[in-house]
Amino acid sequence: MGKTIAEKILSYKSGKNAKANDIVIADLDFVMGQDGTSPLAIQAFNEMKAVRVFDPKRVAMVIDHSSPSPLQGVSQLHQQMRQFASEQGIILYDIGEGVCHQLLPEQGLVVPGDLIIGADSHTCTYGAINAFSTGVGSTDLAAGIVSGKLWFKVPETIKFICNGKLPPGVFSKDLILFLIGDVTADGATYMAAEYVGEAIKDLSVEARFTISNMAIEMGAKCGLMEGDEKTVAWVKAHSQRDFELVQADEDAEYARVLEYDVSDLEPQVAKPHTVDHVAPVGEVAGTRIHQGFIGTCTNGRMEDLRIAAQILQGKKIAPDTRFIVAPSSRQVMLEAMAEGILQILVEAGAAVVTPGCGPCVGTHNGVPSDGENVISTANRNFKGRMGNNRAFVYLASPATVAASMLTGKITDPREFF
């Protein structure tokens, strides 16, 4: 019997013949923590009486969630991370470098076939470049940085076959929102997702990250894609490391196989307060919007900013609206400056904030007030997510957010394409 991508990577890294539901202890290629989870992991590291990390080149800590620090308490925690990083010689990304999930692939730290854990639930993002990456808690992170290993339950896999071509004005964000709406927020719990088909192959690697990033919003452990020539070219442009693509076997066993035709897909919006509360944009069009946000590990990349600039070029956002942009990394910000994209967005009325998580998790940089509606390119719209549990967060593609900023209402972006 053949193997899925998840089974292959976990077999290879554990040295066992790993099949779904087995438990294996596997070697980690990379371990990451962010500023919300690293301090507890450092505490666990010390309680474990550990002395050194397993390999400083394979451990990174990223200060992105509350960055730069908005509070004295947070500053102390950041300081602990800086101190730990300098004592151990691990990689530290300090304020302004960007969101962890943008940095790991962009800086060439992770490549196809890798096994990666991160103490952040959206670590599943790197599945888009054919790596098994998954989110864990702080104690797992500590065990990982001490031993370079972790136990895994080998997941079963749901295969999503996406046929057809996405219509103009409809993007990978719309596709993943639609899939989450279809299988629901716990539709893939304990499982790996594999995304295949023509519609996935057509996407750029940047657009693919958006899909793998949101695998956790259907409960999945990872969101894997088979690599292709685009993957190889993208990874080679970012990393010096050698790698080999890992493909699923023809006769691999799947828990479920779901098939879609995306040719008629409309732009999708996730309504408050759950990610699987999804509707075509037409159903919510006209809803008053007070604040728009383009950024995050889901949609803060160059391609996303370009799409927004295409819609906003030479125009102004609607009166009585606010528009926040957080490039997902310093490199993205520099590129967006060089291309004149930031100029266009700022002229249109954007407030550009530090590369990092920005207002996504509600720690700072744009907390909405009571009763306000926000449209965001992020991946979660839970009550209180952006820092106020009396605000309403809608999730959409960068195109839908940009189009909605022009009118101050949720707007179908297809007229711009």
Binding site: D140, D186, G219
Partner: protein
Amino acid sequence: MYLKGKAHKFGNDVNTDYIISGRYKFKTLDMKELARHVMEDLDPEFYARIKKGDFIVAGKNFGCGSSREQAPLAIINADISAVIAKSFARIFYRNCINTGLPLVECDTDLIEPGDELEIDLNQGILKNMTRGIDIPITPLPPVMLKILDDGGLVEHFKKYGTFNLTEK
């Protein structure tokens, strides 16, 4: 591992914010203090009613949401001995094993609030004493039982310095 106590029942999709609200979890790392607020938004009297060893019993997808470990730690510090649910969110599941909180997956429709339960984790048996029925449970793999027996992953690492688990 043998556990005995009373059932406190909750519904489906209990997220980590309900287990311990963000109002508290960012404020303190004092887990005894956090424990006082466990499940507060779903049941303000909950903490006051817990007797040492009692169980949280819930529907599907218990523990969905963030990867923060304050959620299982608050439950442990409230003297709950295990969580019983139809299914668990994945990161929460790992965090429970790692922090030493036993989990039981079974058909919780067979348990009513206040039922007296007895669980033998090693044998994989749950007895509903009030109703006189045995409820089949999905047994925990030996690897997880070993971590639980050691008192969680930090204790396991203190003892062995790395993973020392029998693999399947």
